[in-house]
């Protein structure tokens, strides 16, 4: 309840100050708190109560903040879902969480492919959120005069985690649907605030550098900091960003839904080194195991997975999260990330398990066999590519497959690239030979 307590606190201290802005709508702290209370009252009347899950689609607007906080005021567990989550999948999640016995300090469940490569509900406690917020406030320097622009999906840790430090410090959130309207993004900087900050995945930074470097330079004195993460950013893009924003603090962060926000590195101050993610933040620790895997511990880590004690015990052992990331720690205690030790494809920060894509395609009548592999992409770095074998005599266009997959899997999992092949390589025992396509 740290977030809701702070909103209530600022509703009394600075009632007229803007808490959340979304397009034409501005909610002051007092208005936001009033709406949260009204919504919570309505939810309670509808049976939302302590320890029970509340599944809802994460809209990208002020209503999301109201609903999210109201769930917590009711003592319930917030489960925000990606907007493109198929209806069947939404029902599955409702079914798998409704009878789950959540610990009393559970705040949220975030569904992610994340560390294990399987879509799982990650349980996040109130303690973890508080620690994540304090990590960010301490390392990145959130202040009360800051306007933080959220332009990523609010059901993901990357953007959701920014609500906490911004509102806990009495700052202002600006929520955008996405970064697709760059003109709308730059118009935010015309608002009467002295300091702006945002979180951008590397592909969004690439997009800004490619098509809006002049506009970015024009607002450079207003940008206090930009944080990136969730995928690898190139040295070239880090250097270019430093040139365009010489006065801004620029950070590369290591985080995942399971580990929470662990490390961050100010590359604008200490130099642009690919894969360098800095030292652990105040509530976090890291070490590297004998296989080179990154292991994280501290207050930010998840409590476990919903309905999967087996999977939980595979990666959460003795209070430590065993990630699939391969890394090293240098003499300064800084984490260097070298890659992943699994088949998960990182698409601009979204993790895609290729097996899930292949399973969905297997239901398509006209396709005999397929494999989903990572392929280079000029904007996103890596995207899923589908190699497929049509059934004899059949012609299958990429759009046919994409249309088929819509509504069956989330949009970001749908391959962007397609290629017809004569056969899919398999190992001697019939499994997909992923290594042959690396």
């Amino acid at each position: 309840m740290i977030l809701e307590e702070k909103i209530e606190y600022f509703a009394k201290l600075t009632p007229d100050k803007a808490a959340v802005i979304c397009g034409e709508q501005t909610l002051s702290y007092s208005c936001l708190w009033e709406r949260i209370q009204e919504k919570a009252q309505q939810m309670k009347e509808d049976g939302v109560c302590k320890g029970k899950p509340y599944v809802f689609v994460a809209t990208q607007d002020a209503d999301f903040i109201v609903t999210y906080c109201a769930v917590h005021v009711c003592g319930a567990v917030a489960i925000p879902l990606e907007r493109s989550t198929p209806t069947e999948r939404q029902q599955q999640i409702i079914d798998e969480t409704k009878d789950f016995s959540f610990a009393s300090d559970t705040s949220d469940v975030l569904y992610t492919t994340g560390t294990t490569g399987l879509a799982k509900g990650v349980i996040i406690s109130e303690i973890a959120w508080k620690a994540n917020a304090e990590n960010l406030i301490d390392r990145l320097g959130y202040t009360s005069d800051l306007l933080f622009i959220v332009c990523g999906p609010l059901n993901h840790l990357g953007s959701l985690s920014k609500i906490y430090p911004t509102l806990i410090m009495g700052g202002t959130l600006y929520i955008m649907e996405s970064l697709k309207d760059l003109n709308a993004f730059f118009s935010v900087f015309e608002l009467p605030f002295s300091k702006f900050a945002t979180f951008l995945v590397p592909s969004s930074i690439r997009m800004l550098l490619q098509f809006a470097s002049k506009e970015l330079a024009a607002v450079s004195t207003k940008i206090d900091f930009i944080e990136t993460g969730a995928a690898a950013i190139s040295q070239h893009d880090m250097e270019l960003l430093c040139q365009i924003l010489p006065q801004s603090r620029l950070y590369n962060t290591y985080a995942s839904t399971e580990t929470g926000i662990v490390c961050s590195y100010e590359f604008s101050k200490y130099g642009c080194v690919p894969g360098l993610l800095g030292t652990p933040m105040k509530h976090s620790s890291i070490r590297i195991d004998e296989d080179g895997k990154v292991i994280c511990s501290g207050k930010t880590i998840m409590s476990g997975y919903v309905n999967s004690s087996e999977l939980t015990t595979q990666i959460l052992k003795g209070g430590e999260i065993y990630t699939s990331d391969i890394g090293s720690i240098d003499e300064n205690g800084m984490l260097h990330l070298l890659g992943r030790r699994d088949d998960v494809i990182n698409v601009g920060g979204y993790k895609v398990n290729p097996s899930e894509v292949e399973d969905a395609v297997s239901a398509f009548d006209l396709i005999k066999d397929c494999i989903c592999i990572p392929a280079p992409h000029i904007v996103l770095g890596t995207v899923p590519k589908l190699l497929y074998v049509p059934k004899r005599g059949q012609t299958v266009k990429p759009k046919d497959i994409a249309d088929f997959l819509k509504g069956r899997i989330e949009n970001y999992k749908i391959p962007l690239l397609y290629e017809t092949v004569d056969a899919i390589k398999r190992t001697y025992n019939g499994k997909l030979d992923r290594k042959a396509y690396q």
Binding site: K180, N183, Q210, A212, A402
Partner: protein
């Protein structure tokens, strides 16, 4: 030109209904970027963020018009 643009974009954005009258609302940030990149490469025109307006990307016809106007200015 319209056929060529449809050919280019349908290969790069298989999920998008290019015949839509509300094309911009179907696009995400990747889609917008992809369109800008492909068109600037194919036609040797300079496209910037200010070109990626909901009006310019409303339909395939409005995209064609934007490219034609850029070419005429060169």
């Amino acid at each position: 030109m319209k056929e060529r643009i449809i050919e280019l974009l349908s290969a790069a954005l298989p999920m998008v209904d290019l015949e839509s009258d509300f094309l911009f609302s179907e696009l995400d940030s990747l889609g917008v970027t992809t369109i800008l990149m492909l068109l600037s490469e194919e036609y040797g025109i300079e496209l910037e963020a200010r070109d990626a307006t909901p009006k310019n990307l409303k339909t395939i016809d409005s995209i064609v018009k934007m490219v034609e106007e850029k070419l005429a200015k060169q």
